[in-house]
Every structure is written in C-alpha cells, then in structure tokens.
C-alpha cells in the first residue's frame, strides 16, 4: 500500500504548510459524494484520528484513513497548471470512470 507525491506537489505542500504556520501533514481521502460516486479529499492535518495511516514521502507526512486507502492505493498526486488555474491532481489507478470535471470518480 502506498501513495506518492510528485516532486513539485511535495514542494508545494511543504510551502503551504509553512505558510499556514501549523499542521503536521497532508490528509488525502475519499468521500462518497459527487456526480460519479466518490470525491477526493485534500486537507491540512492538525491531529491524527483513529484508523489513520501515515506515510512519509519526500519529507511530507501523508495521512490517509484506512477506508480511503482502499480506493487510493497506488495514487500519485501531482501539482499542475492549466491556463490561469493551478492545483493538485490525483492520478489514481483505481478510478475506472471519472466525471467530466475529474473531481469525482467510480471504482
């Protein structure tokens, strides 16, 4: 079981954590919502919860709850720019079908 961050994504996460001034890492997860069933969660982490798994990748603590891990195993998170927009992008081998916007998916 593993989740990866690209170099750029890891650098950006570290920058945002520093700017925020608090937080122990980055939470990745899924929740059941959205137009195609599941949606990604990406949040700062202030404290760990029961059932959280912690991965250390490129100097960043990535926190995933066990339930989400099933859907996220093998995912790589990248940081990308498209036109004026920029943000984090999930490359998830488990996703079979994504909605047009890519914010939600099915497995």
């Amino acid at each position: 079981m593993a989740i990866h961050l690209s170099d750029l994504a890891a650098a950006r996460v570290q920058h945002f954590l520093e700017n925020r001034g608090k937080g122990i890492g980055l939470r990745l997860g899924v929740k059941t919502t959205g137009c195609s069933g599941l949606a990604y969660v990406i949040e700062f982490v202030d404290e760990l919860q029961d059932g959280d798994e912690v991965f250390e990748t490129k100097g960043v603590k990535v926190v995933v709850d066990q339930k989400s891990l099933v859907f996220l195993d093998g995912t790589e998170v990248d940081f990308a720019k498209a036109g004026l927009n920029e943000g984090f992008q999930f490359k998830n081998p488990n996703a079979k079908d994504a909605c047009g916007c890519g914010e939600s998916f099915t497995v």
Binding site: R27, E43, F44, A80, N85, F88
Partner: protein, 623 residues
C-alpha cells in the same frame, strides 16, 4: 482534470460546490484581484503574468476596453479613456465641477438623474458603470483562475470613504453581477494581510504611498476588531511627484532646453526607471533618447534622496497630524504597515522607520498587500475557515447617540464607523442630589432627539447623591458584527451599572436611511439654530437653579435688601423668558444674572474660605 486546493481540516467541499471567493483592490491607478489557495493568499495574474490591472476604461463606438489596452489609448484618445474614476465615486455634479480642472472629460447630467455621466464615443457613463467594467474584468480573471464561479467578493475602499462613496462602490459590484460580501477599509485589509488581526490588540499605522495619493491611517485593534482612529493624507502626493522631481533634475543636469510633450514623457519615463533601479542599486546610469538625440547621465542614491526628501517630509507631517487627531504619540504605535509601490523607495522606509521608531513592515509586495488582506477576509466570509477564525467588519449606517438635557442628541458613535465597535463617553448629573439618570438611546444625524429615531430607554438608578456635575456616568455603546447593540451605563465613583440590548437598524429600510440622511443635510441650518436655543434654555435653567440654591443657603446673611432685590429681578426676567426668548436674548439675560451676582459670588467664596480656615494655625493649612 480537476485541480484541487488543500482545505482546512474538515472543511472540504463537495465537487462543484467549492466556495470560491476573491478580494478586490479597486484602486485609483491600478486594481488587483487576489484569492486564497491552499491556505495562502495570492494575487491572480492575467494571462501575461501581470498582477496589476490599470484602472482605465476606454470606450469606443462599438466596444469597451479595460486595463492595459485602454491605458495605451490614454495619450491618443484622452476624452474616451477614463482613468482615476475612483475620485468620482459617489460624487455629485458640484463636486465634479470642483475637480473639473484636473479631469479633462465632458460631463453631462439629465433632469431625471442627478448622477453626473461622462460623455464618450460609446455613450454616457456614470462612475458606477465605469468602475463596474473594471470589476467585471477582475472577476472574470478570478473565475478563469479558479475554474468556477465566485461565491462572493470583498472590495476595499479608503477608510475616509463616506456613505455615498461606499454605496457607489456597492452599486458597482452589483452592476458587475458580483455578490459583495462586504466592503473593507484598505488599511484594515493591509493589516489583515500581515496577520495583525491575530493579535489581541494593538495600535497600527498604515502608511500608503501610491502613485498619486498618500494616505495615513491610524487603527486600533481590540479583540479582533479594527477601529479607525484617524485618517489623513494628501490626494495629490505620490510616486509621480518623485518622477517629476527627478525629471527636473535630468533637464537641469543634462542642459536640455527645448521641451515638447513627447520629450517630457521620455524624461519622465527615464526618471521612473531610474527611481525603480535605485531601490536596489546605489547608483544608476541611464540615458534619454529622443528624436535621434541622446543624453547620458548618472545619479546615485544620495543625490536622489536629496531630491525627494521634502516630499517624504510632507508625508510625515500628515502622519503627525493623524497621530495628533488620534491623540497618540509616534512611539505608541506598535506596528507600521507599508502599502503602495512608492514605499519601496529606501529613503521612504528609513524616514518612516525613524519617525515611528520601529522597522516598518514591508515583506509583502506593497502593491498587493491590500488585495491579499481582502482575499483573506473573503475566504473567511465564504465559509472556508472554521468558525473561530471569524472576522467581521462593517459600518454603521447612522450615528448612535444619547439624549441630553434639552432634548438634544449627543452622538457617541458616528455613522460609517466600522462595526463591531465599542465607544464610551462620560456624562454627569444636572441637579444636586440626583441619584438616577434616564438614558434614551437614539439613532440619526439630526440635532434634536425628536427628529432622530428612538431605539431604547432605560434607567441607571441608585448611585449616591452628589452635587450637580460631580457624578461620573460612563455610557458605553457596543455594536456587534450583526448590528446588535448593547448600551451599558456605569456611575464610576460608586460602580452602579445598568444595561440594555437593542437592535439599531431594526425596521429601517434603505430608503428610510437615505431619507433620514437627506433630511439631516436639508435641515442642517435650522437644526443648529435649534440646538443653540436648546443649549441656552438648559443653561438658563441651570443658572436659575444655582441662584435659588445659593440664595436659600446664605442669601439673607451675605446680601443687603437692594442687592437681593436686584438679583431676584434679573432672575425673574430670565425665568419668564426661558420658553419664549431667542438664543441670543437668553444669552444676554443669563449674562445679566451673572453680572448682577458677581459680588455675591465673590462674597460666598470668601465666606467659605474663611469657614475652612477658621480656628486653624497657618502651618495646618495645605496650600
């Protein structure tokens, strides 16, 4: 593929329901838009990577251009390229004609609309419409950058903007189809960008030196609430003046004689580039090229500093005045925030630092700092932060006051004060032995309570009897972020308190507020006359009461019959005239009573001194 931002713990939004928000600095010369992404406030650049949008709108017959393209038309098409429109926001034709010499545009107004419009090739446009074009472009940039619609925006305005100017800015936002969360004072936004709102309290000076304007604001932070203590500045002082000073130096130094408009522009451009280069370098070499001729010269930072020292001193004079208005000394200011591109100039930073005796904050880009603060506020208002980070600022539409003797309204919180706000004022008793005070809370701009709106009445009872004027009753007004007001009255020597909670603008519609404001302007003169009359009536009654009290005590012992009769005649004349005479007549009658009682007052004084000293040795008396 969606590009996601990091949310606060537990604040992730569902797909397609992101609460995007933006902060907009709608400036006189340049405007910016910023947002919070992954917890960080950032300015949003255009496709060419430029953060600034020149606040210029150019109207042609078939199109309207905003920003750099409009800016480029300024010299070729000055009448249709509208700049500095912010100066006209919320202004009537009269104000506009006063600005006429600096604004080259053709103004028109019609019978059915008092709003001045600027005639352009594309039609007639008001300041609100022109500003909304700038807002539309900025909002579209934000939508393109966030890939979604905006939940709402926060737009910044100068702290000194009055209600009409704020309303015009609100209207511009509505016209641009934006949901305006709220207006925010520019200096407050700058302080928020530096995170100063996270402190418990403090005194902050915001020094804003832009291209053409200088503003100084003194803020007091109290439990997350910013109060504007004083503002000041100069609407015709800025970085452009530095360019001019340097330009003149170039002309003199290079011995340039023949000057035309194009040449002047070239020189100013060279001066501006040299000024910017001198921020990082100790000296710069530069040239002015025009029509095949070329002048080369060199200037070092000391020479430049000498050229602009007087300009910076001028800004410090305004700072001194603002501090004086706020009743503060420079050393009491805890944080100094630098805003505006001209604060990059090293001499400005060092002189401001010396004046306030601390290092000014200039780590953030001074052009962006206001927009960044607005973005942080917008992000909170969009609901992207947990509740405990809530920061709320708004302004009070009408002044809040208290009824004083004679049915006069004494304003405690002026309209346009940012809320939440707390302010206190001390009152005293009118009569000897008074042990209670009725407190009547009113809202409005008029001088007489009967013309204001009554909000609440309550009583402060049970403080010890004292002579008139000795009790100290401190009335504290507090208006929270939702406009809910509480009033507390405390007699400070005994500690007796009473309080009440009211909702001030309850039931007042926008139209009512507007008509109340209009009435206060229409009736200004007669209101002042009435106030003067009421004040004299109150004074007359106080004098009568004091004379009666004194006469009852020692009138018989200190006065002979003639003297007593004289005083009583004048007193009677005053009493019978109290309700009928004019303010001036009353003033004369009061003076007559005072004049005739002069010797009596002197005798009373001697008598009481004698009494105090009776039977005491000289060394027992404290002097």
């Amino acid at each position: 593929m969606a590009l996601l931002q990091i949310a606060e713990p537990g604040e992730s939004s569902a797909p397609h329901e992101h609460r995007f928000a933006a902060g907009i600095d709608l400036g006189t010369t340049n405007s910016l838009v910023a947002t919070v992404r992954s917890g960080e406030a950032v300015c949003l650049p255009d496709a060419e990577g430029r953060n600034l949008l020149p606040s210029v709108v150019c109207y042609a017959a078939d199109q309207c251009q905003v920003g750099y393209p409009a800016w480029a038309h300024q010299s070729s098409d000055p009448l249709n390229s509208i700049s500095s429109i912010k100066r006209l926001m919320g202004r009537g034709l009269k104000d506009v004609s006063r600005l006429g010499d600096v604004m080259p545009y053709e103004f028109v107004s019609s019978q059915d609309s008092p709003v001045p419009r600027i005639r352009t090739a594309g039609g007639d446009f008001s300041a609100v419409e022109i500003s909304s074009e700038i807002l539309k472009v900025l909002a579209q940039r934000a939508r393109d950058s966030l890939k979604g619609d905006l939940e709402g925006v926060v737009i910044t305005v100068p702290a000194y903007f009055d209600d009409a100017q704020r309303q015009a800015t609100r209207d511009a936002a509505r016209l641009a189809g934006l949901n305006l969360f709220r207006l925010m004072n520019e200096p407050t936004a700058a302080a928020v960008a530096y995170g100063l709102d996270q402190k418990a309290d403090g005194l902050i000076a915001v020094y804003d030196l832009g291209g053409g304007t200088f503003d100084i604001s003194i803020l007091r932070l109290n439990r997350g609430v910013f109060e504007v203590l004083a503002t000041g500045g100069d609407s015709a002082l800025g970085g452009d003046d530095m360019d001019h000073a340097l330009g003149e130096w170039i002309i003199e130094h290079c011995g340039i004689e023949k000057l035309d408009a194009g040449m002047s522009r070239q020189i100013l451009l060279a001066a501006r580039n040299a000024k910017e280069a001198l921020t990082l370098s100790e000296a710069v070499e530069f040239s002015v090229d025009y029509k095949g001729q070329s002048w080369r010269t060199e200037i070092d930072r000391h020479q430049f500093d000498d050229l602009i020292r007087e300009l910076v001193k001028k800004t410090l004079q305004a700072c001194r005045r603002a501090l004086h208005d706020a009743g503060l000394k420079a050393a009491e200011i805890e944080d100094v925030v630098m805003v505006g591109g001209s604060t990059r100039v090293p001499l400005v930073q060092s002189m401001v630092g010396k004046f306030f005796e601390r290092i000014p904050m200039c780590e953030l880009d001074p052009d962006q700092v206001v927009a960044l603060g607005a973005a942080i506020q917008a992000d909170i208002l969009a609901g992207n932060k947990p509740n405990n980070d809530m920061l709320l600022l708004d302004v009070l539409p009408l002044s809040l006051g208290i009824e004083t003797m004679g049915g006069l309204s004494e304003k405690i919180i002026d309209r346009n004060s940012a809320i939440p706000v707390a302010r206190a004022q001390e009152f005293t008793t009118f009569k000897d032995g008074q042990t209670a005070m009725s407190i009547h809370v009113v809202q409005g701009e008029r001088e007489l309570v009967s013309d204001c709106r009554s909000l609440a009445r309550f009583e402060l009872r049970g403080f010890p009897p004292m002579v008139a004027g000795a009790a100290r009753i401190r009335v504290t007004y507090q208006v929270d972020a939702d406009g809910l007001m509480s009033v507390t009255a405390q007699e400070t020597t005994s500690g007796v308190t009473a309080d009440i909670v009211v909702k001030p603008s309850y039931g007042l519609t926008d139209t009512e507020i507007e008509s109340m404001l209009r009435a206060s302007m229409e009736h200004a003169r007669e209101d002042i006359g009435l106030r003067m009359l009421k004040e004299q009536q109150v004074e007359a009654r106080r004098v009568i009461e004091a004379v009666d009290a004194a006469l009852a005590q020692d009138g018989a012992t200190l006065l002979n019959e003639t003297e007593l009769r004289q005083i009583q005649t004048k007193r009677k004349a005053l009493e019978s005239a109290v309700d009928t005479a004019s303010a001036d007549e009353l003033k004369n009658l009061i003076k007559a009573v005072e004049d005739v009682s002069e010797t009596y007052v002197a005798r009373r004084m001697n008598a009481s001194v004698k009494q105090a000293l009776a039977g005491k040795k000289i060394d027992e008396v404290e002097v």
